[in-house]
Symmetry: C2
Subunit: 223 residues, 2 copies
């Protein structure tokens, strides 16, 4: 199966070139862009619903959301912002830069402060594809088990920030928080690890980080 | 990126040929083989630990387990059977027939009644790769949310059986069981949907189904 190697490199090269164009477009529009990566059911859409709600009046937000099928997530998010584009990937297991490029033609980028790209629920494949984002955020949840950072080192290594969601479930499932933190730190000393509960509406560490990053990007752009 | 299409077909063709060889080898050894597919944290390894424990003295079991990194799952399962092989896939997002072929050279197939292949935690990529298994089993869990069957139609459509795990968490997370069942039935009328709780050690529907299938395969082989 060595025949795939040069072609995969080729695809990644094309992807990276388009990602570069996306990144330039985002920077010119002064919109800060996140690629949110997490397992199916880690709570990506629920986190974004609450994020959009809490940022109303504070920042202008938009979302590009990828799923193999259905428009359910897009519909959920559309209750909180007009600027939502859903991408159905079919058998595709991740978003690529070209899909994002198509999607953002339907968004008024210059009218947005923050754009979140909710990637397809998958801890592996999305990691290798640059979308042109400014920061990659990895989302884990307590109900997945405390071994998931160690098992997905490539995501943890390359993430700019990490979120642990569903800490409200700690009394009901086995999850060794110190062990999880240690696995994360072992792989990545730089990325903040933000522990949140969407169910309890406690996501301040994440929204504060997000706003601070977006502000910083804005300041850098104008200086 | 159309260049990938013929190559992917090529890879799939090679994979299918090796899967055919695997299947023949499994049948000759009279071992019944499951490909277990579920999201990260759906409880695949925990389900298998309990399954191996409960089948002790009833059926001779073995496991091939795939993960991007670490040998943690293999070590957990080795407490219940001597016949465990761990495959680390690195950046690979699913097992393929050739990896399984390598792994089973290290197992005494003829001494086993049931072999479970625990696929990499991923609801998308593993679905398209035949490993030579007799049945494909899709595992979902309550904490992932009730929309996951509809969002992963390809897995639900092609599974021979489906499991919903973590029903003990129903009081603590929003999950509409009738909606989930309806989504499953809409896609697949044939596959049984078995609702279990590994945490409460209640997995009878699954172990009964597994033993019945293995018996049936045995009977068919000797008739």
């Amino acid at each position: 199966m060595n025949v795939t190697v040069p072609v995969v490199e080729n695809v990644l090269k094309v992807n990276d070139e388009i990602a570069l164009l996306n990144r330039r477009m985002f920077s010119e529009a002064h919109v800060y862009v996140i690629d949110l990566i997490g397992a199916p059911g880690s709570g990506k859409t629920a986190l974004l619903e609450l994020t959009l709600e809490q940022l109303t009046g504070i920042a202008r937000t938009g979302v590009v959301v990828g799923d193999p099928a259905t428009a359910r997530d897009g519909q959920r998010l559309a209750r909180f912002t007009r600027h939502v584009v859903q991408i159905n990937t079919g058998h595709g297991c991740h978003l690529d830069a070209n899909q994002v490029r198509q999607a953002i033609t339907r968004l008024p980028l210059s009218d947005l402060d923050i754009l979140v790209i909710e990637n397809v629920g998958n801890l592996i494949c999305p990691v290798g594809f640059d979308l042109g984002q400014h920061a990659k955020v990895g989302l884990f949840s307590v109900s997945e088990g405390d071994d998931k950072a160690a098992k997905h080192p490539h995501l943890v290594l390359t993430a700019n920030a990490l979120i642990l969601n569903k800490i409200d479930l700690l009394p009901y499932v086995p999850f060794d928080v110190p062990r999880f933190r240690e696995d994360v730190r072992h792989l990545n000393q730089m990325a903040p690890l933000m522990e949140v509960s969407v169910a309890r509406r406690q996501i301040d560490p994440w929204t504060h980080w997000l706003l601070a990053q977006a502000d910083k990007a804005q300041t850098n752009a104008s200086s």
